[in-house]
């Protein structure tokens, strides 16, 4: 058993895109969950398969019980999504190199056409944020027209997870390049951050000290990165009790 203090932490800041989530203002309304499903063509698995634990979400709202009965309290709402780790545990276990680290965007990628569905990555993810396509779920007629053309429609037997809306990153970069400028902070955001009515989620460049995410992280001061002791170098910071 390795104790957390024995783990050599990589102090190298590798992140590019990051997120801050303020749990104090999150109301748990699940708008981010819905927006994410719409943006990223996530299928609706239905009641039966959900019962088998095959529900598919790239972001979910977690709550835990706190304290002993009868003094039981709920922890604050905790939106949990892929932390886009700088040193991800999902990556080295993939036998097909389908989950690889993007050197250009510093994100964890899932290459759907490489994935053979071994599900090692999901079993090795300490955040449990990966979801597997157990079936090809049919969409009833009008819903089949609402696929986002910028995102691959995944098929059965493929693992998938949050991409930090990489299609929006590419679109913003493409627009900026066509106008001959750099991407401006706040020019675009992820679907979950855009949908959040309480603005609890903020997305941006963590390697830019002037970006809104960096400023928020500095202003709050007590940001928590989940399971940081595992050495995964997550790029999502949580605020609680500020």
């Amino acid at each position: 058993m390795i104790r957390p203090e024995e783990i050599k932490m990589s102090t190298e800041e590798t992140g590019k895109w990051g997120m801050v989530i303020d749990q104090d203002i999150c109301t748990g309304c699940q708008a981010c969950v819905a927006a994410c499903a719409m943006e990223n063509n996530i299928t609706f698995v239905g009641e039966k398969d959900s019962g088998y634990g095959r529900s598919m979400h790239w972001i979910r709202i977690e709550r835990f019980w706190e304290g002993e009965y009868p003094e039981v309290k709920m922890t604050p709402n905790q939106p949990m999504l892929c932390q886009q780790c700088g040193s991800a545990t999902c990556e080295p276990v993939c036998p097909a190199f389908a989950t690889v680290h993007s050197q250009a965007e510093q994100l964890n990628l899932q290459v759907y056409n490489r994935c053979v569905g071994t599900r090692y990555c999901a079993n090795n993810c300490p955040y449990q944020v990966r979801s597997f396509n157990w079936r090809d779920y049919k969409r009833p007629e009008p819903l089949s027209n609402q696929f986002n053309p910028d995102v691959t429609v995944r098929r059965r037997g493929v693992m998938e997870k949050c991409t930090f809306c990489i299609q929006r990153i590419h679109k913003a970069q493409d627009t900026a390049k066509s106008e001959g400028r750099e991407v401006v902070d706040g020019e675009f955001t992820t679907a979950c951050a855009q949908a959040c009515p309480a603005s609890a989620i903020t997305f941006g460049r963590v390697d830019d000290p002037e970006s809104l995410v960096s400023q928020l992280a500095r202003a709050h001061g007590h940001g928590v990165k989940h399971l940081e002791e595992l050495g995964t170098l997550p790029n999502v910071t949580y605020f609680k009790g500020g």
């Binding site: 690889v100 965007e105 994100l107 290459v111 691959t152």
Partner: protein, 184 residues
């Protein structure tokens, strides 16, 4: 049981049967490969050679290539913009579907030829902006009538060019060979 089968196959009739089976398999495979390499049937036998021959730029009919991900296929309204001033349009048998489409206000259902799989996110704009010409991928359209692919758009084809363009520029090479640049 197996031995009896082999014995039967070794006699002349058996050898002929094996030969026929192999020939059938081979011809089916040849037919299948040939079938997948053919350009799809189009509503109009559109002569690219004539249009390019007149000096019409690719971007006149496919303007999306310079602006966004998809080059786009022109609507019959765009065709009609020129063709309603051309006397031959009224009489030509080749152009009858276009005339009918405009008169009945039903769009021509062109079949896209140059396609990549759903898991590939291709953006025309970036390629045109990087100085690539249409014919680098789509071949010389001045020699083609109905559009067909000069080569298979597989990952080797894309990456060979990406690596060549990046050259010694390490930062560009990282970007152009990153999985997330095309697959997401």
């Amino acid at each position: 049981m197996i031995k009896r089968l082999f014995d039967w196959l070794k006699q002349p009739l058996g050898l002929i049967a094996v030969g026929i089976a192999l020939l059938t398999l081979f011809s089916l495979a040849a037919y299948g490969i040939n079938y997948t390499q053919q350009a799809p049937a189009q509503p109009v036998q559109f002569p690219h050679t004539t249009h390019v021959g007149f000096g019409i730029q690719c971007l006149y009919c496919h303007p999306g290539a310079a602006k966004g991900p998809a080059a786009g296929i022109p609507t019959e309204a765009k065709c009609w913009g020129c063709h309603n001033q051309i006397a031959k349009t009224e009489t030509s048998l080749l152009l009858a579907p276009l005339k009918q489409s405009v008169e009945s206000r039903t769009p021509l259902e062109w079949v896209p030829v140059a396609q990549v799989p759903d898991f590939v996110q291709f953006n025309h704009r970036a390629h045109i902006a990087a100085g690539q010409n249409c014919e680098n991928c789509h071949g010389d359209m001045s020699k083609l009538t109905v559009a067909e692919n000069p080569q298979v758009f597989n990952m080797g084809f894309c990456l060979a060019c990406h690596k060549k363009v990046a050259g010694e520029n390490h930062e560009l090479l990282v970007k152009l060979t990153d999985c997330g640049t095309c697959h997401y």
